[in-house]
């Protein structure tokens, strides 16, 4: 799939390649709307008979691509076809909900999801859609409530705990966010990112005890990442320097902080040296020479070149 980007021409690809690419997108959950739409449209226009039952998966992908691109009415046409084929499917109702959301008909979407959830309270996917909708509308309180009740049942859903943590952080409920990260550490203690984030939250709450916990977890994050995580190393330096300047911290702890700072700074200096980028010192100021001063006559040429360039 190398080289597949928005300038790829679908006509140059074989049916097999098109199908494989779209399948890969589905497996990995990639939502590259422009490419999906281009490839999918070409495939549906020219090879729909060859697809067999896979055509419904492709239609669903096209639907999402249309929503992402903002061409909702075309998305609707795909949805209609899927609905005709699978009139009673829950998956289809979820898509209808997504369309409502995209059209701004939020009340309808909310009603639909709530109805589906009343019939099937255990439907995790539908619950997540409703939570996501609440979030988008700024209804953080409802989103949190629903997410908490979802987690009462599905206690080991990493994604959900992470989502809840982010919601709490956006509300500055740091203690509650810390609880969420603790749950994540329980589920996946080998994931250094959870330790890192947890350490950051503890640091933000503040106080000697929290700084000490934060220090331990930055250490663990650094260790688990093979000393490669910049944030873990920098966080370690930050928390240790804070502890050293704090009253109520034992001499022993301050000693260990000193050692850790030295150690971390060594590792960081190493990394800085390896990543040195030549950057000119001249920073933008009011009296910096303007482009127009220099290239007055050549500006036409420059504009022409710029017009032809696109990343």
């Amino acid at each position: 799939m190398e080289g597949i980007n928005s300038s790829t021409d679908a006509a140059e690809m074989s049916f097999g390649e098109l199908r494989k690419t779209l399948r890969k997108f589905r497996e990995n959950g990639t939502r590259n709307a422009t490419v999906t739409y281009k490839l999918g449209k070409y495939m549906c226009d020219n090879y729909s008979s060859k697809l067999g039952n896979e055509v419904w998966d492709v239609y669903e992908q096209m639907f999402f691509a249309c929503i992402d691109l903002g061409i909702n009415d075309i998305g609707l046409s795909y949805l209609r076809q899927i609905k005709e084929q699978f009139p009673e499917s829950k998956r289809v109702y979820r898509l209808i909900g997504v369309l409502h959301e995209a059209d701004g008909e939020l009340a309808e979407a909310e009603e639909l999801y709530k109805e589906m959830l009343e019939e099937n309270p255990g439907d995790a996917a539908m619950t997540k859609r409703l939570i996501s909708m609440y979030k988008t509308n700024g209804k953080t309180v409802e989103a949190v409530k629903l997410l908490v009740s979802y987690l009462e049942t599905y206690k080991c859903d990493n994604e959900a705990w992470l989502e809840l943590a982010e919601l709490y952080l956006s509300e500055y409920e740091y203690e509650k966010a810390a609880y969420c990260f603790e749950e994540l550490i329980l589920i996946s203690p080998a994931n250094y990112l959870y330790h890192q984030r947890y350490a950051e939250v503890r640091y933000t709450i503040g106080g000697a005890e929290n700084y000490l916990i934060s220090k331990m977890h930055f250490c663990q994050a650094a260790r688990l990442s093979g000393n490669s995580s910049n944030r873990a190393l920098l966080g370690l330096v930050t928390v240790c320097e804070t502890l050293r300047g704090l009253k109520g911290v034992t001499t022993e702890d301050k000693e260990s902080c000193f050692k850790l700072v030295k150690w971390a700074k060594e590792k960081l200096t190493d990394k800085y040296e390896k990543s040195k980028v030549e950057v000119s010192d001249a920073c933008p100021k009011k009296n910096s020479p303007k482009m127009t001063d220099h290239i007055d006559s050549g500006l036409e040429t420059v504009c022409a070149i710029l017009d032809s360039v696109k990343l």
């Binding site: 309270p121 255990g122 080991c156 603790e182 329980l186 220090k215 331990m216 663990q220 650094a222 850790l260």
Partner: protein, 245 residues
């Protein structure tokens, strides 16, 4: 023990080894596709049973990984689970109905279908093999086996002085049926229904859908296990370990 003195008819290769193998393989394929057609869909336990499983899983995670948390956080969670109003306490004290697989109709149906598609072909082919291919040696396994295996591997051949390495066609069939897993994985991808070993596992009660038969017992076991788990800070020496790298 007679070893190399026995030479088998090379025709056995074409008329016994190959046919049994091919038939075993084909039936495995048929079983796989049949299961897909007949499958009920993923058996979702009720919300309550999901909650039970997740609670038990979380308690297990707490016992295993809780030592990465600060002491206070561990104790709070432990108390929350095994305290007076704890989820595990309530679970172990509730006289729950034992989920008898005989009484749950959909699970019964699933199990029956599984049993039919797995056992029936085995019985049929096994019978046919023992009818058509009995009374002679089919092959020899390349490694020496003890006498105990003779009973298993040499059904139908009543020769007490024969080396246990020689096997009958029936044994060859079984070897093929269970050993085909690698081939099926190549052909059908992972998680296929043709795998006999997996089929045996799935027939164990409570295996399908992960439903627990006796919830109360499970809660009790977990309650006791958590009660005796004492917190020990797993990150106590992380600084020392870090400074050494």
């Amino acid at each position: 023990m007679i070893r190399d003195a026995i030479t088998l008819d090379p025709q056995i290769r074409y008329w016994v080894i190959a046919p049994i193998l091919i038939i075993t393989f084909l039936f495995g394929l048929i079983r796989h596709y049949l299961m897909i057609i007949l499958k009920n869909g993923p058996s979702q336990g009720s919300l309550e049973s999901v909650k039970t499983m997740q609670t038990l899983r979380r308690s297990a995670l707490l016992r295993e990984n809780g030592h990465f948390l600060p002491a206070n956080s561990f104790e709070i969670r432990k108390r929350h689970l095994i305290g007076e109003q704890g989820a595990l306490t309530i679970g172990k004290d509730t006289e729950g109905a034992v989920k008898n697989p005989m009484q749950d109709p959909s699970m019964m149906g699933d199990q029956l279908k599984g049993q039919m598609t797995n056992m029936l072909p085995m019985i049929v082919i096994g019978g046919w093999v023992s009818y058509a291919f009995s009374g002679f040696l089919a092959a020899r396994v390349p490694f020496p086996l003890t006498l105990r295996f003779k009973q298993l591997m040499q059904r139908g051949i009543e020769l007490s002085s024969l080396d246990a390495s020689w096997i009958s066609s029936m044994s060859w069939y079984f070897i093929g049926a269970f050993g085909m897993r690698g081939v099926y994985e190549l052909v059908l991808g992972e998680d296929n229904q043709a795998d006999q070993a997996r089929a045996m596992q799935q027939q164990m009660p409570g295996g399908v859908g992960g439903q627990i038969q006796d919830e109360q017992k499970a809660y009790k076991a977990e309650w006791e296990a958590l009660k005796i788990t004492n917190y020990k800070n797993a990150l106590e020496n992380v600084e020392k370990m870090l400074l050494q790298t």
